[in-house]
Each structure stands twice: as structure tokens, then as C-alpha cells.
Symmetry: C2
Subunit: 288 residues, 2 copies
């Protein structure tokens, strides 16, 4: 049996009791290590689970899946995923390979950022399409996520923005020379995401486009959701562009229409001026 | 401290290790019992947790919240919620009451139907607004959920449909006579939801409206997601209207544009004829 087990979002103890029991009895345990991170590393997980973990990076999962699945028809293999195995990233490819090889599989679900963002008080019902905001480079500044947010906002929906993660990235020079030397991992912060959005807003303004959001649009920054030191900050996009929410992972929400109960909840996470500090002049975001 | 603890979706062992530790040490433990159910009842949870649970129905949570929060400023109180505390139903009201009373709170997240539906292989990214399908009566047949699905499909998005739950419902006679006698709980099945949708499709067709979906639109029925006997069935809306997926809870997805990997995954859950059996003549739902 192949078990795909969600680890949740905080630390080693966010695994479910069922998941932990399975981890302890599997013959091999892999840790998917390229789409998300916990607040603790592989060592802490190994110590808590009492099991050795094999780190599975993108290359391994995509190119050496057979290695992961080896023997899973006669013994139990666990594939651990931060969050939920079918959350922000799906592992459909691994599942299909297993099924095609006659291997049974089972999913042990857990919290994902896709549902845990509800902790800021915005109702999951009212979210539209989820978008990813990628790191811009000097020469590559895609704006496609802006248009998706625009579409959601036109319908009054909130938008969850997943922020870019760069793990095992090679510099252009190392890539060209075929040297497997990797840059330190990078995780986009809420401030960086807000800055990129502000730049797009300014571009669109200069192009005379009707704006889907402005510097005053109410946004929510979330850091380390589910961890002991989780931090949530509600504020205008401009405010979030200069906030420091600490270490990764960060996510951001661009609000749509806000219902009164949602406004009350966001008030818990607003700056010292409270909700008034949000300067809700952006009337499209606020329905009382 | 008030702890809002998600129980996940299956049985007693789907609580996280962190959640279980907190449950064991809290002075009082409430079980929210009106928005969802596990495959096991209160007794099984009490036995596994080694704790007495107080059932909290809607009346209690809405009208006797002070009772739940009593003493939570000096001791620990747990409020258990099937799924995630901020999943399909938010418990913002209880949180706001706690904060206003000077009580700290903490959320222990878990899987929710809102993210666990990803197990059918449809990517959570590609879902639009979530809708609720309510039980029709002879005199009340709302169609508003159809229009939301229509809006999602126009953008190629999938729609998660949460199906109605009727718990502690009074008959009209008992209600009028003020008798607190309750009907047995009712849980909408995928077949019932599909039947209601087919009736709306037929109504709209007769009104000459351009149809957002037809009898041949690919849908996914899910039952008891996360439980040992979880059942997923992909098929046309017409097929789902006559399927029997067993006991509650059920959910349904109306697909939007399907990507090749999504089609492959749905194939695992299609009827004996496989994906061809889905008669993907509804071209709007399939992009190869």
C-alpha cells in the first residue's frame, strides 16, 4: 500500500494520530521536500516519528517514482506531504503511477493552507480561484495573477495568493555549466508579494485601465499558519508592502466583498488603529 | 485559553497528535454537533479521547456561548469541530465573543471537506465559489446555487457543492405547538442533489435559457471522504442521479474545464466503461 499522508502546517505534532501510526509501521518513509515546509526540519520529524525519512525532491518524485513505489505492492510505503497530499499541490502523478503498477493507495488528509486560511475570519465559501504569485526577475515580470484576482474581485470573491518558493534553484551560471550547486532556498514574503502587486496596479493605472484594486484595498497577510508563532495582519495593500511577518511560509489574501462578521474578524488582526486604520475608502471591498 | 480543534473527516484517530494532547488536558470539552458528522459518534470519541464530551448544538453555541466560555480565561476549554474549525462553517462568532471577554484562543487545524475533495484529482486551484445545495420542499425550491455553478463554469472552474444536513429539525406541527420533538437527522445524498440539479436544468431548458450544464456534464460524487470506506464516483449528472454511495456525508462536484491529468484521475473513479462511459460530449468540460 502507498500511503500519502498530510503533515498539516505547523510542527511534528500536527500529523494525525492515524497518520503517525502508519508512519511508524511503514517499511520506507519519504518526505516530499519541494512544495512547502513546516516550522521544523527533517531531523525533528525523524526524532518525533522515530523513523528515518528519505528526502524526496522534485527530481526524485518526477524521475524516480518507481524507486518510491518499489515493493509497495507487498509492503507499506509512506509519502509525507506538508499540508494535505491533495492541497495546494496534487500528487496525482504518483497516484496514477501506483494504480498503473497495481499498487493500492490511501490518502490520510490533513489541514492545507487552502482551508486553514479560514482562520483569519474570511469565509472559505467566498473565495474564488486561488493564484500563485511568482518571484519576478529583472527580465520576467508576469502579471497573469493580477487578472485572476481582478476576475475574482469583480464577483466579490476573495483571492488566496500562494507565494513563490524557490528550493534547489541553480544560478544561471551553474545551470549552464551543469554544476549541481544550489542557491539557498527563498520564500516570498507578504511584503514582497504586495510590492509586486502595487507595481502592477501602478502599471495598469498608467495604461488607463479600470483598476481591480488599489493601494487601499484590504488585504490579509498570513505567516506560519498553524504554528505557535502564527502571525496574521490585516491592512491595506500599501501597509502590507512594508510589514515584516517574520520567517516563512507566507500567504496573502486580497479581499473581495466583506461581510460584517468578516470585518469584525479582520479587526482582530488590524494595526494599532484598528479597522479604521484600514481606511476602508475602497468601497467596493466593503458591504455593510 | 479557548481551543478550537478540528477533528478531521474520518473517525476518532483523525484528530492531530497536538489536538489530542490538548483535549486530554482541558477542563471542559465541547463537541459541535450540528454542521457535520464523523463516521463514529460521541461515544466512540469519548472512549478514544478518554474524556467526557458535552454536545453543543446550534442553540447552545448561539445562545449559551457564555456557558462554553466560562472560566476559559483561567483554565483551558476545548471546542471540537468536525473537519476544520474554519472550514465549511466558521466559528467566528465564538472567537469574537472570547476575544471580547478577554479570553485567548488558539486554532488547531485539520482537514476539511473544503480541501480534502482534492482526493478525486481535481485541483483545488481550479475551484470557484463553493455552493450549498439545500433540501427542496413541496413549496420551496430555490435555484440560486445553480446560478453560482453557472458562473463558475463560465470561467472553467469546478464547483464544490456541500449538501444539506438537517439535524434537530422540528416538524411544522411540533414547531407551532412549541414541542421540542425532533425529526430524525437527514443528510442529502449525491443522487438527491443530482436530481434537483437535473430538475433545474430541465426548467431552464424549458425557459429557453442557454444551459450552463446538461445531463451529460461530468460530475463527481464523494461519500465519507477520509473514512476507511470512502467512495468516489465520477460520472455524468444523469448517472449520479441514480447512484448509491452509501451512508453520509456526501458532497458533489460539478466540473469545469478538465485538464488531462484531472481526466486521468477521474478515470480511476468512473463506472465500468471507464472514462468513455462518461460520454464527454459536453465539450465545454473537456480541454485536451
Amino acid at each position: 500500500m502507498l500511503y500519502l499522508i498530510g503533515l498539516g502546517l505547523g510542527d511534528a505534532k500536527d500529523i494525525t494520530v492515524k497518520g503517525l501510526e502508519i508512519v511508524k509501521r511503514c517499511s520506507r518513509v519519504y518526505l516530499e521536500a519541494y512544495t512547502s515546509i513546516l516550522t521544523v526540519g527533517k531531523d525533528a520529524l525523524e526524532e518525533y516519528y522515530g523513523r528515518e525519512l528519505v528526502l524526496a525532491d522534485r527530481d526524485m518524485v518526477e524521475q524516480e517514482a518507481d524507486e518510491i513505489l518499489k515493493g509497495a505492492d507487498v509492503s507499506d510505503v509512506a509519502f509525507l506531504v506538508v499540508g494535505d497530499p491533495f492541497g495546494a499541490t496534487t500528487h496525482s502523478d504518483l497516484v496514477l503511477r501506483a494504480v498503473n503498477a497495481g499498487i493500492q493507495y490511501r490518502v490520510i488528509h490533513n489541514a492545507s493552507i487552502m482551508n486553514a486560511v479560514g482562520c483569519c475570519g474570511l469565509q472559505l465559501y467566498n473565495f474564488g480561484e486561488t493564484v500563485s504569485i511568482v518571484f519576478w526577475t529583472d527580465t520576467w515580470k508576469p502579471e497573469s495573477f493580477y487578472d485572476k484576482i481582478k476576475r475574482n474581485r469583480a464577483m466579490g470573491m476573495h483571492t488566496l495568493c500562494l507565494l513563490d518558493i524557490k528550493v534547489k534553484e541553480q544560478s544561471m551560471e551553474n545551470l549552464m555549466r551543469g554544476r549541481k550547486i544550489y542557491e539557498p532556498p527563498r520564500y516570498m514574503s507578504v511584503a514582497q508579494a504586495a510590492e509586486q502587486l502595487l507595481e502592477i496596479v501602478q502599471n495598469r493605472r498608467e495604461q488607463g485601465e479600470e483598476l481591480a484594486m488599489t493601494e487601499d484595498t484590504v488585504c490579509v497577510g498570513l505567516a506560519r499558519v498553524g504554528a505557535d508563532d502564527q502571525t496574521i495582519r490585516a491592512g491595506t495593500m500599501r501597509e502590507l508592502a512594508s510589514c515584516d511577518l517574520g520567517g516563512p511560509l507566507h500567504s496573502m489574501i486580497i479581499t473581495g466583498h466583506l461581510h460584517p462578521l468578516e470585518v469584525d474578524m479582520l479587526g482582530l488582526f488590524a494595526g494599532p488603529d484598528g479597522l479604521n486604520g484600514l481606511k476602508m475608502t475602497d468601497s467596493s471591498t466593503y458591504i455593510s
